[in-house]
Point group: C2
Chain length 550, copies 2
């Protein structure tokens, strides 16, 4: 084991470090963040994806701690799974810890978890590392970046950040701390690449106040604002504008209600008691005195907004003169679902404001000029773009070259590549770094083979033919029974299925003594050919020839 | 049958008139366009969607003709299916007719088809209607809008259009004809809503020349430009810039090669012989003298670009220093597929220019100010926004109100609503207007039930248990056989499947004389419960209890 600094991004392919980052010096390891990714639309049946921490499996005694930058799902979502396997202390800020506790309550690891609170300004020695969290602006309060002093030099991990001079909580990113890091000399910067393709600077959250004022002023009736349950700052903004315009606020949806309660308790959300009303009481007020906060901006079928769109919410329904505001960005891949919900809300009679038609959302991530500002403040020797698909990382690499970081000091890599920092930056071999799918209780059991089966089943359905078979005579001794789903609508396809049955029966008439394992492939081949000829579709075809008593 | 004018948009829900428009006066019917829609990502196994023309089924003798506005798939793609059922003459411009002929060669209707060529300026009487095609700019040459004189008044159908003052073919939209229509008095305008949410004016295609010059100047090696095979104007632009910069052009992909050949033959594409080289010869030239035109901008797995991205194209592969340009917009729902291809092209070593990062594409559809210009020129009494999802139609309706069309004269409707134009605009009852899915040979057989089965199979897989059963004893007389796909990986799940087998066996021990149809649901229920407990997944569970000899 060489006494060199190594950084290994773990997690979803192409989403380097979005989910998990491993900092290693000699035998000592520090982990940063443990997030989930949402499945792409062709990852059928997958609930979510967690990082592949197989690399750490045989190094459990060497992992000192996990430090969390902020409380979004793509940074804390996999923590319950991680803590099941790694009983190490967790470091997080107060609000982030609150969000982690809500999560661990639902999904408790076997051993007790040590949750340590840290705050910007703290200096925390962990093994050979010293962590210094510093405040960053993002679309959730209490987010931090991390200075990590190692024997090899200082690493800065940007967290998810933007440079907002007028953030909702009045607490800008800590420039002084960044300058101080710079003064000490930064060996490596790991920085957020989400908006590497966006020219200029990301707009301040302050611009949304004007947008919300305008919407609430012009809306003839109720205003339903949808956003992520974890976008605590956005909830604060809506509350502030609603209060100024004399509207009351009700919260719809369990996760938003839980987060709101917790954030109020910890002092991160300031809602006067008289502004907040229970959802059940909104009908006692004139519609133009009501704002409802809800979830479902990504078109999630079980969230409040989707239920409203199809008129299936328990206690709420869309009224003529309702105005619905999607205050969120679109996670790529969700466009169709979101547009379907938008169309249906229009159908129900609401007016709908959504990105990019209305300026009702700003990003929480730095754009190109902010990324360059961070690079210019810190002047790191080495640069690793993190948090993004490969196309974002490539672009962030280009942005860094523009401010003078030499190409050989920039590592644009996908997950799992070992980066070693000595006199030079070396990109080493690749450790496991793929997808780990979570489906129900099963973690990592659903692999590429099952995904491929699901894809074919989903596209074409299946047809199973079953017959009792007598080995001695080489003849079927029952009618073929056909079971089929996802292929044809049986009542309409009687004739096709009868002919399929005949095909199976003929194919099952073989040489006396043939074992059933040899008959089945012959039946499958004959049936698949017949069905393709008739329909130009290729359902999964399975034959079972059953011997009596076996 | 009242002697009134009726307009009925047919086709995909929410995509009013994108696919097909029915103009009816008394007993006489004229159809405009017959396009396909591409399936959304949860429409598993669907190849494409055609309009539901069930309304016309019992009116075949009353349909006089079908008039086509331009040669894009969403306007001509369903024509072979339509002509199978309706043997009516087709009217189209020359290039559009060429594209239709290419299509009918692959998919020939049973009866001979009458293809009539029309051109801007023609005046064609068809039953009680008189059609006057007029030239419009769009992202394909030879597109038209239609003036349709009816006994009730003049309808203008905009086709897909933009107001481009410097189009590639030098032929702007025909303002004079529009002014003439206006002078005669326009009863109804049907107008393209695609970009109803885009403020301002759509940029001219001319701006792309500069972008292509820049890309071809800066690219150190080959430039691969991907676009739709039907974007003939874009191909022309790339050819022109390539010729000016001393690069040769090769065409990759069958559909683009076919369209290019046809468009050159008809004179819609001007490629000097010395500029075009066969794909096989590009290696004889220095890389910086080569441009390759290719398909695959939507991430279609079988198109050239996707094959290049995974290194599986027959004769081409990505080289270091290649530059790939996506000159296309993203069809909503394709984002993930496209980004995956972009990421993989980066992985292969190419530099990639894609929307919105680079200005290498402009829309072919009018933005808000152009839509208002059309409304202001024509001053229609009634307005029907067409060609878009409900959210686009609503926005187009808002745009029309801004230029003074009264709300009661605007019909924002989904497909299948009968619009009657008398003294007032009446929205009548709804005729069939849903999706008709095409899956292989099967048209319209794949309905909501099969789609639902496919969705569940795709998410969870299935497990079928089969056993021989003796009715007299009420006992299984064979081991249960399990067939499963998409649920567990069998070698890893041996123990789970053995226990499932035991569960099935126990459930199949029933009262003597019980018929198998009564045993099967009991087995299914017991198994489903067991599997959910063990995995928190719900595969489709099917039991078959087979009687010997039956």
């Amino acid at each position: 084991m060489s006494e060199k600094l190594r950084i290994i991004p773990l997690g979803g392919l192409g989403e380097v470090g979005k989910n998990m980052m491993c900092i290693e010096y000699g035998r000592d390891i520090l982990v940063i963040d443990a997030g989930i990714m949402f499945p792409e639309s062709d990852m059928l049946g997958v609930d979510y994806i967690i990082p592949d921490w197989g690399y750490l499996q045989d190094k459990k005694d060497r992992v000192h701690a996990i430090a969390i930058t902020h409380g979004h799902e793509d940074h804390i979502g996999a923590l319950p799974h991680f803590l099941e396997e790694f009983n190490v202390p967790v470091y997080a800020t107060r609000l982030t810890q609150g969000l982690i506790e809500v999560k661990l309550k639902r999904n408790r690891p076997p051993a007790p978890v040590t949750l340590n609170t840290y705050a910007p300004g703290d200096v925390i020695p962990i093994g050979p590392f010293t962590i210094e969290p510093y405040h960053v602006c993002h679309s959730i309060p209490d987010g931090v970046g991390l200075g990590i002093t190692t024997p090899a030099g200082l690493i800065v991990h940007s967290g998810d950040f933007k440079f907002d001079h007028t953030p909702v909580d009045g607490w800008p990113t800590d420039y002084a701390k960044l300058a101080e890091f710079s003064g000490r000399g930064v060996l490596v910067l790991l920085s957020d690449s989400t908006n590497a393709g966006q020219p200029g600077n990301t707009a301040s959250e302050a611009v949304l106040n004007e947008a919300f004022h305008q919407v609430m002023r012009d809306a003839p009736g109720r205003v339903i604002v949808a956003t992520f349950a974890s976008l605590i700052s956005r909830i604060q903004q809506v509350v502030d504008v609603a209060a100024q315009r004399g509207r009351k606020i009700a919260i719809a949806g369990r996760s938003m209600a839980e987060n709101t309660k917790m954030a109020r308790k910890l002092g991160y959300l300031d809602i006067p008691d008289e502004t907040l009303i229970p959802l059940g009481e909104i009908d006692h007020l004139p519609p133009d005195k009501v704002v409802i906060m809800a979830t479902g901006t990504q078109g999630e079928p079980t969230a409040v907004l989707s239920r409203l769109a199809i008129g299936e919410h328990r206690s709420l329904s869309i009224q003529e003169d309702d105005t619905v505001v999607f205050s969120s960005h679109t996670i790529p891949g969700n466009e169709e679902l979101i547009h379907r919900v938008v169309n249906r809300l229009f159908q129900q009679g609401a007016d709908v404001h959504y990105d990019p038609l209305s300026p009702v959302h700003v990003s929480g991530h730095a754009s190109q000029e902010e990324q360059k500002l961070l690079l210019n403040i810190l002047k790191p020797r080495f640069f690793v773009p993190i948090h993004g698909e490969l196309r974002h990382l490539k672009q962030h690499g280009k942005n860094a070259r523009q401010v003078g970081i030499p190409a050989e000091n920039i590592a644009v890599v996908e997950n799992g590549y070992e980066l070693t920092f000595g006199d030079e930056l070396e990109v080493g071999k690749r450790v496991p770094g793929g997808y780990v799918f979570v489906d129900g209780k099963r973690v990592g059991e659903i692999g590429p083979r099952i995904m491929r089966e699901r894809e074919i089943l989903g596209r074409n359905g299946f047809l199973t033919v079953i017959l009792c078979y007598d080995r001695d005579s080489g003849r079927p001794v029952s009618q073929p029974h056909i079971v089929t789903q996802g292929f044809v609508y049986e009542p309409q396809a009687r004739e096709l299925l009868d002919r399929a049955s005949d095909v199976a029966r003929s194919a099952a008439q073989v040489k006396p003594g043939t074992p059933p394992q040899a008959v089945e492939p012959a039946i499958e081949k004959a049936l698949a050919k017949f069905l393709y000829q008739e329909t130009r579709s290729r359902p999964v075809v399975i034959a079972k020839a059953i011997e009596h008593g076996v």
